[in-house]
């Protein structure tokens, strides 16, 4: 079964707790490394970010998500399981928009693979973000002019 890589809205405490609860069902892994990405209320000039609106190329996200997991499992032999979950839609400042959980036999590969997973997600996952300011104007991130 293909895991879901995207969830509409923020990644709630309930979702994160559910991931942790599910770890208890497996006894072959001794270390879990977890990364959470949070929406910052950045200040841009006189404006403050109140939310980020994410959009994704859903079909390509599934394919690239599978590719990222496949390449990490090959690179880190001790890693047993990797889950990636990214928000789409509006996520208010302070809320969580990215969850990465890497489970391995031992801590070193769990942590190294988690760091690498986040880098690959930034580099390869077809997701875009629009910062929405408190005055409801917006700015695309990564939209540099040619």
């Amino acid at each position: 079964m293909t895991p879901d890589f995207l969830v509409n809205g923020p990644i709630t405490g309930e979702i994160i707790a559910d991931y942790i609860a599910r770890m208890e069902k497996s006894t072959e892994q001794g270390a879990h490394s977890l990364f959470l990405g949070q929406v910052r209320a950045d200040i841009k000039g006189l404006k403050r970010v109140k939310a980020i609106e994410y959009s994704a190329y859903e079909k390509m996200t599934s394919k690239e998500g599978e590719n990222i997991i496949g390449s990490l499992l090959k690179e880190f032999e001790d890693v047993k399981n990797i889950r990636i979950l990214h928000s789409t839609g509006v996520v208010m400042a302070g809320k969580i928009s990215l969850l990465v959980v890497v489970s391995a036999g031992h801590r070193h590969q769990a942590m190294a693979a988690c760091t690498r997973a986040v880098e690959l997600i930034k580099e390869r996952l077809p997701v875009w973000k629009k910062e929405i300011f408190e005055d409801n104007t917006h700015e695309w991130k990564g939209n540099e002019l040619a």
């Binding site: 959009s55 390509m60 580099e123 939209n143």
Partner: protein
């Protein structure tokens, strides 16, 4: 390939229907999330028609994916292919 089949495929290739998608800021500047181009003859033909329809695209950085695969070389399109215009990724 038998001549008859080759010629049939050539005719089909000359009548391709391609789904084109725009993401991120490109959906905003083109005011289009997706549209279909009909009677497309080649990738070059498609790109020509898109840049005619949306000249503002030239001001932006983007990469093109064909069927969810980023392509740097001009690909050979098939009927019903999906072509996506993607600005730099900004996930996380």
């Amino acid at each position: 390939m038998p001549a008859e089949e080759a010629s049939k495929q050539k005719i089909q290739n000359h009548r391709m229907e391609i789904k084109v998608l725009f993401f991120g800021i490109l959906a905003e500047v083109t005011q289009t999330m997706f549209r279909h181009y009909r009677d497309v003859t080649s990738y070059e033909d498609l790109m020509h028609r898109i840049t005619d329809d949306y000249p503002e695209l030239q001001h932006y950085n983007y990469r093109v994916a064909v069927n969810f695969e980023i392509t740097d070389e001009p690909p050979v399109l098939k009927n019903k292919d999906e072509v996506a215009f993607m600005p730099p990724f900004a996930g996380g």
